[in-house]
Symmetry: C2
Subunit: 318 residues, 2 copies
């Protein structure tokens, strides 16, 4: 009898458990719950949800994580390139003058990407990213980058997956970079990660095939590139889209162009205490005033990090 009683209590607890415990009560939390409830009307194979990554699923300040990786990779390669001490953009990186990075030209960035993101095989590159993530720490939080993911968004991903959504990342960042950790960190497998991609070249040496990363871009997965890549990779219009910048604008428009129920949300970084603040009036970030106007006009939900999120990051496990 006692066993049955506890079993009963357990079932009640499960039934009444809040699937979004890191969200404060309010219209945004309600919008998510209402959408998930209404999504029962959407055929299972059409339940596609897309999430931007940098600034939507994890911290993107003071630099994109992938940029930290590229800079550290340049430092690691410096011994083999003694001339870099006197050559830009390497000199600035090796001397650690972070405030001068903003002066880098497109050609400088191309140089950095050539040395850090091409020339090796896809397997070697993935190993380098994984190895770097094990020891690298965010300068402000002194925590691993992969622990600076947004707990409230993780809860939304889990809730959507529990309701048979096929959840994809659609990021302006490099897709192979994200794939190196997305399955472990977000539970999103590589085939559900879309991002900016470079060209690959197949090689076959006596029974050993490998794919070499070339220093050429295949497509840039930002702005109009997002609905284009969604069509290329998924071939079906999403019913839910989450972003945080002008880079996500067209992805949200594309999502909204379909039949309801639909859900479009933008993360507004307005929490300088716990995270960062860079809204429409900020000099950093990419949340323009025009984007805020479009969000208000189109009925997109703007998430206030400060007010909507009870907790920002997962508890530290290490």
């Amino acid at each position: 009898m006692r066993g049955l009683f506890f079993l009963f209590c357990g079932i009640v607890a499960i039934l009444s458990a809040d699937p979004l415990p890191s969200w404060n009560e309010g219209p945004n939390k309600q919008a998510i719950l209402k959408f998930v409830e209404e999504s029962a009307r959407i055929p299972v194979n059409e339940r596609i949800a897309v999430f931007d990554q940098d600034g939507t699923l994890w911290v993107e300040q003071p630099l994109y994580t992938q940029v930290f990786f590229a800079l550290d990779s340049i430092k690691a390669l410096a011994d083999k390139h003694p001339s870099w001490k006197n050559e830009e953009p390497f000199k600035t990186i090796l001397e650690g003058r972070y405030s001068d990075f903003k002066n880098f030209t497109a050609a400088d960035i191309e140089q950095i990407m050539i040395y850090t993101h091409s020339g090796m095989s896809t397997d070697e590159y993935a190993d380098q990213v994984k190895k770097w993530l094990e020891t690298a720490r965010h300068p402000r939080y002194n925590r691993p980058f992969t622990s600076l993911i947004y707990q409230p968004m993780l809860e939304v991903i889990h809730l959507l997956k529990k309701n048979d959504f096929d959840v994809h990342i659609v990021s302006g960042g490099g897709q192979e970079f994200i794939r190196a950790y997305a399955e472990k960190v977000y539970g999103i497998p590589p085939q559900n990660v879309i991002g900016t991609a470079g060209k690959l070249q197949y090689h076959y040496n006596e029974g050993h095939p490998f794919l070499k990363k070339l220093p050429e871009i295949l497509f840039v997965d930002d702005k109009t590139g997002k609905p284009e890549s969604i069509s290329l990779f998924i071939g079906r219009r999403p019913v839910a889209a989450f972003g945080n910048s002008v880079g996500d604008q067209q992805m949200l428009e594309w999502t909204q162009g379909g039949f309801p129920p639909r859900l479009e949300m933008l993360v507004h970084h307005d929490d300088p205490i716990r995270e960062y603040a860079y809204g429409p009036d900020s000099k950093i970030g990419r949340f323009s005033e025009a984007l805020m106007h479009e969000a208000l006009r189109e009925g997109w939900h703007v998430i206030s990090m400060k007010n909507d999120w009870k907790q920002i990051f997962p508890e530290e496990s290490n």
Copy 2:
């Protein structure tokens, strides 16, 4: 009691049911069953299987189905282009001189593709393909093209899916063409269809976003393009690969480069009575002698359509 008896019989029937009833007993059927049994050792998220389409999942003779679609589309557009009556390659198509198609140049084919595969939105294109498939008939079998799929391969796809494999099509054909029917015909959703892809361009007209198909190729998903696109789209090496031509060679090599258990299979079209015959000694098709040698050397399984397949197509339902 009687109900229980029939229930029992039903369970026994399910347990002993042959998952590959259209396959004759023999080493190839055994290789598939053995691989599926051993795949229990493969972590679920690494169970990736890839299938070429033309000649591997459905008939590719006397022309690729997509080519029939393109030719019919040219005919349908002819009223709007009266000058085509005297202009090549349109003249040859409009006069139905199929035997002269082999003389088309790359520029001719480009012209055909521009008019039939670009200029419209992705939605309009998908509608055109679906509409065409409803009425078009294969010239030899007088059946819808979508009914000329290989029943034995359909059984392999179902068996793999039942064992938690993520099954993808990796085709040299156009990926949007295949996506228009793959879910209905093979049970493979659009996000699991990779093929040759054109560039897209996002447009937004007063709340109405659409993606326009441009007359430019983004990548060709054939030969070395196959492992490259698998890396681009799936980001994980397959453990099973099925093909039928030199266009699939690198995809099978790439699959074999991983750890066992692995399965690589090639369909050998050697059945002129029920289907077509075009092996290494044929002037048609793309199964070269070098490919046969590589298959024998590497231990790839070569499926004899004539001997291994009890039944080729599903029963006609219409």
